[in-house]
Amino acid sequence: MFPKRFVLKRLLLLVPVLIGVATLVFSILHLSPGDPALTIAGERASQEFVERIRADLGLNDPIWVQYVDFLGNVVRFDFGESYVINRNTTVREIMANTLPVTLELALYGQLFGILFGIPLGVLSAVKQDTLTDHTTRVGALAGISVPIFWSGPLLILLFAQVLGVLPTSGRISSTFSVSPIRVTGMVTIDTLLAGEWDMFKSAVRHMLLPSLVIGVYSMALISRMMRSSMLEVVRQDYMRTARAKGQGAKITVLKHGFRNALIPVVTIIGIQFGGLLGGAVLTETVFAIGGIGTLLVEAIEVGDYPIVQGTVLTFAFLFTLVNLVVDITYSYLDPRIQQ
C-alpha cells in the first residue's frame, strides 16, 4: 500500500524548511559586502546611473518588501538576470545549461558508489573479521579520507600524462565541432540518443575519471553502511528461523538478509547526495567541467548575486527533494516507519 498520509505529512513539514532555506539565502546575500548596483554599473559609472540601477533592482525598498518580493520570485523559480558572468541572460537559462552537467556527474558518481559499494559491504559482512573484511574497511575509511582535489590531480597525472590513455579535462573531445542535439543536456545520454557512436565514446571516456573520483566517496560510505546493516540483520531471529527450517546459508543471506539490510543503505544514499553535490563542485574545478559548481565558485568571486542565489537554492531544494524521496522509499520498504 502506498503511504499517502505519510507522504502528505512529509510534504507539509517541508514547507517551513524551504521557507527557512530561502530566508537564510536572502540574509546571506544581504549581509554580503559589496553593492550589487555598483557591481552591475562598473567602477567608473556615474552616480545617477548607479542610483537608477539601484531603483530598478528594488534595493531602495524597505527590507521586508524586498524579502516578500524575493519569496515570490523563489516560488516562481525566477532569480532575475546575471549581473556579471553572463549579462542579460536569466539565471534560469544559465542553470538550465549547467545543472544537467552537474547532475550527470553526480549520477555517475552515485552509480559507481552503488555498483561497487553494495557488493563490497556484503562481502565484508559475510567475511566478518577476516583479512578481506579488514582490507575493505580500511579501504572504505581511506576512501572518505582522500580529498577529491588530491585523488583527481593524481589520477589525471597518471592516466592522462604518464599513460596517455584518458582525456584530462572537459566533457567531450574538441575534435567534434558540432554539439549533439540537446535533449537532456547530459552529454553521454544526448550523444547516445543521437546515435553518434564516436561522440558517445568520447563523452564516456571524459566521464570515467571524474565519476571514479567522485564515486569513491559514496562507494566508501555505502559499503560501510551495507556492512553494518548486514551484520545486524544476520543476527535477527527470522534469519535463525529460516536456517532452522533447513534453508541453505547462502540463500538465507541473499533472500532474507540482503533485502532487509538494503533498507538503511537507502538512507545513506540520500544523506551522502549532499556530499556528492559538494564533491561535484570540487570535481568540476579539477577536471575543468563547466557545471553548476564551477559557475557558483565564479559567481561568488565576482559578486554575481542572482547566480549565487539561484544555484545555492537549487542545490538545497534538490538535496531536500532527494531526502524526501528517500524517506518515502524507506517508509515503503519498512512500513513501521510510518507510525
Binding site: V17, I28, L141, F149, E232, G274, I300
Partner: protein, 309 residues
Amino acid sequence: MSTETLTDDEGGTASRGLVDRVRASPFLSQLLSNRLALAGLAIIVAMLVIAVYARLTLDLDVISRSQLGTNPNRAAPSLEYPFGTDGQARALVPRVAYGAWYAMLFGTVTVGASTVLGVGLGIIAAYYGDITDNVIMRTMDVLLAFPSLLLALALVSIFPDELGLWRAVAALTLVYTPRFARVVRGAALTVLENEYIDATVALGATDPRVLVRHVLPNCLAPITVQSTLNFGLAIIDLAALSFLGFGASAGTPSWGLMLSNGVSQGLLTGVWWWSFFPGLFLALTVLGFNLLGDGMRDALDPRMREAVD
C-alpha cells in the same frame, strides 16, 4: 568484557590506579584493543609533533616569500629538496610541515567552536523542550537542508577577504553546529529521563547546574566521537575552501592552497610533486581522525562489545 565489570564501573573509581581504571572502562579498554584506532591516534600524534615543531622552528615570513635566486625553481624531489620546490623556488618540505600547523590549528578552532555552540543549543533544546526546542531544532533543520560545502561557500562570502582562513573557520563552524546540536539533543533527552535528574531538581539545583554538572558529563561520549569524526571533515573542508580560493590568502603554506596551485599550474606541465606531498599529508591526517573516530564509535556501541566477546 563481562557485565560484572560494567556495573562495577558505575561505583567510585577515583581511588583506583590508572591501569585499573582503563580496564574498568569498557569504552577505553575496547578502544585500546582496536589496533586501527591506535594507528589513527599515532598518525594524529605524529602530525601534531610535526605541526608544533614547524610552528616553533620555521619563520612563516621566510617560507611564504619567493625564494627565486636562492633555490632552484620547480626542482623535482631530490636529496636536497625531498619534496621538490614550487614555482617560486620555495622548498616544499617546510611548507608542507607548516601546513600541518595550519590544519591542526584551524581544525581545532572550527571543531571546538561548533562543539561548544552545538552542545549548548542541543542541551538547551532537550531540557526546555516545547517552543525553545522547536525554534532551535527547526533552525538546525534549515542549516542541514543545504549540502555542507555549498552552505560554507555561500557563508564565506559574508566575511571580508582579509580574514583569510578565519572566514572559512567561521563559515564551517555554522555548518557543523547543527550536527552537534542533533547528536547532543538526542543524548541529553535520554539522560534527562534518569531519576537522578529528578532528584537533583527536587534538591533545588538551578537549571544551569543541572545542565552543566549532570546532563553534560553524561553526554560526553557521543560528543567526543562526533568531534573526532568532524575533525577529519573540518580539515578536508578547510582545505577545500582554500582550494576553491575562499580560504588561506595567497602565499600562506596551507595544504589546500598548495593543492590548488598543483592543479592550476602543475597539472598540465606534469609537475606531480606540487599536488602529491601536500595532499598525502592532508589525506593521512584525515585518515588518522577517521580511524580514531571510527574506533571510538565502535567502542561506544554496546552491540560491538557483544560481538567481540
